[in-house]
C-alpha cells in the first residue's frame, strides 16, 4: 500500500492530539475550580486518552505489519500503543500546537477545549464516513463523546465571556494567547494532503467553514470578537506541530508523562 506511511503518520497525528490534550486536562484533576468541574474535565481527559488508545492500537498494527519482514530474525521489539505514547520523543509527536499549550487559568483551558472540540466534532463527523473502516469506527465512537465536550465547553465559553468583568477579561486574555494556534488545525500537512488526494480524507477546508460558523455563533453569545485577519489563514498563525516542530511546552509534558516508563522500562501496576 503506497500510502501506508501517510496513513500511519495521520493516525499518529490524531492519537497525539487526543493524548496530549487529554494529559493537559488531567493536570486539573484534584485542582478544578469546583468539584463538579474537576470531575467534568477529568472525564473529558479520560475520553480523549481512550480515543488516543484506539488510534495508537490501529497505528501500531500498521507499523508492525510493515516492519514484519525487517524484524524477522532480529530482536527488535514490536511497537505497542504504550511504546508509541511513552517512548517517542518530541519530534516524533504530530499533535497540533494548540493541544500542548499550558492550562493557564480556567478561561484558557475552556477556550482551548472549545476550539479543539469544535474541530474534533466536525472532523469525526467526516471521519466516520471515510473509506478507511478503522478510522471510521474510532471516529464514530468518539463523536458521541466529543458532542458532550463541545456542548460543555461552549456553555462555559458563554458563562465566562458574557459573565463578570473579570471573567470576560480572562477570556479575552486567553484568546490573545491561543488564537494564533487555531490556523494549524486546517493547514494540511504533507500526509494529510496525500490522504486527501487519494480520497481517504475529506477536504479540510470544508471543516474550516463549519468550524468558523460554530466559533462565530458561540463568540456572539459570549460577547467576544474574533481577532482581525481571519477568514483564510493569517500569516501570523503558528504551525509545525503536525510535522514534529513543537513549542517548548511539549517537552515538559513528555518529561512528566514518560518519566516512569523511561526510568523503569516495562513497569506495570
Amino acid at each position: 500500500m503506497h500510502n501506508r506511511q501517510a496513513l500511519i503518520d495521520y493516525t499518529l497525528h490524531l492519537a497525539d492530539n487526543s493524548l496530549i490534550l487529554g494529559h493537559r486536562n488531567s493536570e486539573w484533576t484534584g485542582y478544578g475550580p469546583v468539584l463538579e468541574q474537576d470531575i467534568a474535565i477529568s472525564n473529558i481527559a479520560l475520553d480523549l486518552i481512550g480515543q488516543a488508545r484506539n488510534f495508537y492500537q490501529y497505528a501500531s498494527g500498521l507499523i508492525n505489519q510493515g516492519d514484519a519482514g525487517a524484524r524477522a530474525g532480529s530482536r527488535a521489539a514490536e511497537v505497542t500503543e504504550d511504546s508509541l505514547a511513552y517512548l517517542r520523543d518530541a519530534w516524533d509527536f504530530k499533535n497540533c500546537l494548540l493541544a500542548e499549550q499550558d492550562n493557564g487559568d480556567w478561561a484558557k483551558t475552556i477556550l482551548r477545549q472549545f476550539f479543539f472540540s469544535a474541530w474534533q466534532f466536525y472532523l469525526y463527523g467526516e471521519l466516520q464516513q471515510c473509506e478507511n473502516s478503522e478510522l471510521a469506527a474510532v471516529g464514530e465512537k468518539a463523536l458521541k463523546e466529543t458532542t458532550y465536550h463541545l456542548r460543555w465547553s461552549s456553555e462555559w465559553m458563554i458563562r465566562l465571556g458574557d459573565g463578570t468583568e473579570e471573567s470576560h477579561a480572562r477570556m479575552v486574555g486567553a484568546l490573545d494567547e491561543l488564537w494564533k494556534f487555531t490556523g494549524e488545525l486546517f493547514m494540511p500537512s504533507r500526509y494529510e494532503q496525500q490522504l486527501i488526494g487519494e480520497g481517504i480524507l475529506p477536504d479540510l477546508s470544508l471543516l474550516r467553514n463549519k468550524w468558523d460558523e460554530k466559533v462565530k455563533e458561540i463568540f456572539a453569545q459570549a460577547n467576544l470578537s474574533i481577532p482581525e485577519g481571519t477568514g483564510g489563514v493569517s500569516p501570523w498563525m503558528q504551525s509545525g506541530g503536525k510535522e514534529g516542530r513543537h513549542t517548548e511546552q511539549l517537552g515538559y509534558i513528555l518529561a512528566e508523562m514518560q518519566f516512569l516508563q523511561r526510568a523503569y522500562p516495562g513497569c506495570e501496576w
Binding site: Q37, I39, A40, L46, S133, E140, K144, E145, Y148, R151
Partner: protein, 168 residues
C-alpha cells in the same frame, strides 16, 4: 455449527450473565449490551466480540479479564476476545432487566430515547425520575459524573443527589 457448539454458545451466554461491570456491579456484561457476538469454533475455541461503552472506559480491561476467568472456570480454555468500535455502543442496547437493576441500586436508568446527544447549548434538561422517590422534580448538577457513563442529578423532593446513567 454443530449441535455441541450450539449448546456451548447458550452456556456461554448464561455464564456471561454472571460477569459484572466492576464500576456498576449490579449490571452484568449482557445487561449492558456490550457482548455483540458469541461463537464456538469446531476446536472449542470461544470467539467473543465486545464493544466498549466509552472510548476511555477504564473498566474494559478488567471486564475482559473477568470474562476469561469466568469461562476458564467452566473449562473454556481458549478464548479470543475481539473489541469492535462500530457500530458504536448505545444505551438502547441495555436490557430492560438491567435498567430495573440500576434503579434498584440507586442509579437512574437511561431514558428510552436519547434527546441530548447533539451539541445545542443549554438544552431543556431531560426529565429524569429520582430512583428513590420517583419524583420528576429533579435537576442536573453536572453532565459528567463519577464514571464516564453517568451524570449527576439531585432530587428536589427528597433532596437526595443521585447518578443518572446518561443516554449515549
Amino acid at each position: 455449527m454443530t449441535e455441541a457448539a450450539d449448546i456451548s454458545t447458550e452456556k456461554i451466554w448464561l455464564l456471561l450473565q454472571e460477569v459484572t461491570d466492576p464500576e456498576v456491579p449490579v449490571l452484568s456484561v449482557t445487561d449492558l449490551g456490550i457482548i455483540r457476538q458469541v461463537m464456538v469454533q469446531e476446536d472449542g475455541t470461544v470467539e467473543l466480540v465486545i464493544t466498549p461503552t466509552y472510548s476511555g472506559c477504564p473498566a474494559m480491561d478488567m471486564i475482559r479479564t473477568n470474562i476469561r476467568l469466568a469461562l476458564l472456570e467452566q473449562g473454556f480454555k481458549k478464548v479470543n476476545i475481539t473489541t469492535v468500535l462500530s457500530p458504536a455502543w448505545t444505551t438502547d442496547w441495555m436490557s430492560e432487566a438491567g435498567k430495573e437493576k440500576l434503579k434498584a441500586y440507586g442509579i437512574a436508568p437511561p431514558t428510552a430515547r436519547q434527546s441530548v446527544c447533539h451539541p445545542n447549548l443549554f438544552q431543556r434538561e431531560e426529565a429524569i425520575s429520582c430512583p428513590r422517590c420517583n419524583s420528576y422534580n429533579t435537576h442536573m448538577i453536572s453532565e459528567f459524573g463519577s464514571t464516564a457513563c453517568k451524570a449527576l442529578y439531585r432530587c428536589e423532593e427528597c433532596r437526595e443527589p443521585f447518578d443518572y446513567f446518561k443516554c449515549h
